[in-house]
Amino acid sequence: MGKILIVDDTLFMRTLLKNILFSGGHTIAGEAGDGEDGVSKYKELKPDLVTMDIVMPKMNGIEALKAIKEFDPAAKVIMCTAVGQEQMVKLAIKTGAKGYIIKPFQAPKVLEEVKSVLTS
């Protein structure tokens, strides 16, 4: 179980993800609505794990991931992606993302990935 920061530009996705994470016994460190906010919340809250959307206003998920990794190389970030975004995810993995989950989210898969990254 971990303290998780959710970064996504839609409240809908954040709520969906939050409830899935709650159901897995995790706590939510905080939520951010864009990459920029995600980076500053990461610095402020020091979560155990971040779920990061890719397409977001202000600063996209890849840029936010880079900034977070610069601040904390050990940061554990899971990318939220969709079919068709393989190249983006690969770029994210090369940038230091530790996992990915595919929309539409399936609770068991999300929880499995979160657990796997938290214990890695």
């Binding site: 179980m1 880079k66 393989e86």
Partner: protein
Amino acid sequence: MSEFEAYRGLFVAESRENHENLVMNLLLLEKGPDQRAIDEIFRSVHTLKGASASMGFSQMERLCHAMEDVFSLVRSGAAVVSPELGNLLLACSDLIEQMLDDIESGGDSSSGNPDDQVHALRQWIEQYGGTRKKEKESPVSTPVGGLPDESSLITAAERCPEYEMCITVADECMMKDVRAMLALGNLEALGTVLSVHPPREALDEGTFDGTLRIVIASDAGVDTLKTAATGTEILNVEIRVMEGPADMAPDTMQDVTSLLHSACDTAQQAEKKPYVVIPDGEIRAAEKQEIQVPDGAGPVKPAGDDKKQSSSADKTREIKNLRVDIHQLDHIMNLIEDLVINRGRLRQIAALHKIKEMDEAIGMVDRSVSELHSLMMNIRMIPLNHIFNRLPRVVRDVAQHDGKEVEFVIDGGETELDRSVMDGLNDPLLHLIRNAVNHGIESPDVRTQTGKSQQGHIRLSARREQDNVIIELTDDGAGINVGKVRAKAIEKGLITPEAAETFTTDQAIEMLFQPGFSTADKISDISGRGVGLDVVKRSIEALNGTIRVDTTPGKGSRFELLLPPTMAIVDVMIVRINKKRFGIPISSIVEVANFRRDDTHHIGKGEAILLRDEVLQILRLDEMAGASQECEILVVVQYQKRKCCIPVDMVEGKQEVVVKPLSSFIGVTRGVSGVTILGDGAIIPVLDVNSMV
């Protein structure tokens, strides 16, 4: 589906925002190339796609997916948005809106069939790229941790035991190559990867078949390596200790050499990169810390209790805004209105029994209720952009339909109005805008002939002025044609040809607002292309607002809507006629005077009175209250520039009341804007002076 039912409201609300953003940026794109608009459109359709897929609304997802594919191409610069594509995309956005309406009322978006649109979008994609162009990759693409330099590679390889690993990714995994990359990345953090099969390029290009073979030199031990490679959707990890350098196949050696070269290249690139290359040791230290946490044994224990406290404090600080269902706000508003009514009742009881303490207590309650009321009013305020943002699309559509060129400017959209006023404003405003393009702005050739710019201008602005919100719609079109109005009024039998001779511009405007003048006589026509200005006027008046028009032939027209920011609770004067009580809104009352019957005069069928050198029409409410012989007081009311007076038996006093609209069973009743409940439980009508004067 049912598990997502709880998210339906949120989904609709947010999707509508994204839809609005989509339309707004599509319109921006029509004006010329705009990378920001393209990015925004991509983001919006991407989000709509993801959300609808999550909710299981497959039709909507299909449509958004096709739109996203189109914009991937546009975004990469491989194609531009032509006017035809723009129209197609707007048609798609209309369908999305229709689907959202369906979803909001409990459907699943299947009422809108996107086959035609998806087909058209796919055709467009084929035309522009054959197959979907892959997402553009950033030039930066090296693993974090990069690859160690040549010397450390050799020493690592010399020192550490070597392992051969075979990692199998599960068949159902949707991004097998990404999984393989993750496993590879995890292993790279634990040692030196000497060979990878299939090569990294295969992973990059997406030709990976599901089995990854790695040779790694590491001192992490079998278990740690196995754990690092194991993860979600990893079916199997096999690991075998290699006997020594001799065990390494020649082709593997070749791999190592090529690896060394790529490592040098990477190291050179890495110097320019914005991210940090992490030394091996640090990663291990971090991982060690994590491993100490017992797996599945409750939450991760923070460093200390202090930290825990501060983080929970952070959490409460985070929540600054929250989204509330509007129906809940309406419900709270109803409760506040009930409070206002019951406060009046308490006050009456206190007055009746002359209880001083109760009076004081009511005074306190009074203050809280007033504050609560004004707070609630603020919460219910919504910026006008909420409805303004939809209008550029309307202007565009009408202009395109009529073959006109129009520049539409919006100003002051941040001005706030109560939601209830906003709801009632949407249709009349839509109608006025359509009218402005349809009837106001001339066709480009006519404009050129009259020495105007080819493009017409329409400006919509809003501002707060004292207690009112003023919305102004100006156009530089032809203005109102008095001759045309006159001819039509004669044709409709509203005025005689003789009277028409002396028709002024003001009178022409008056005629426009006359019921029966327009071709539209049903309220439903307001959203069509009818010209029911009387309906617009009635709708605005139903909001306790007024509408004023200025027009200059050949120069254009200006419509001014004056609206109260809110309408739920109003100050009224309670009057009594023939033992029946009525409320008259204080805002309409000019003065209260003694009624001297001697000063009344009969003019035709009507009755008038001379009050301070002014002749005022007397408006008797006999039909409503029955004739009264005891009228001693005159309440002078005013609407715009017109005054008249209502004779009443007595004035009971001023009161803040909640005006509830009449039920739809009763329908629109001229002269009555609604009813209110007084403190003693009596239900009385509240007069609508605007429609009486």
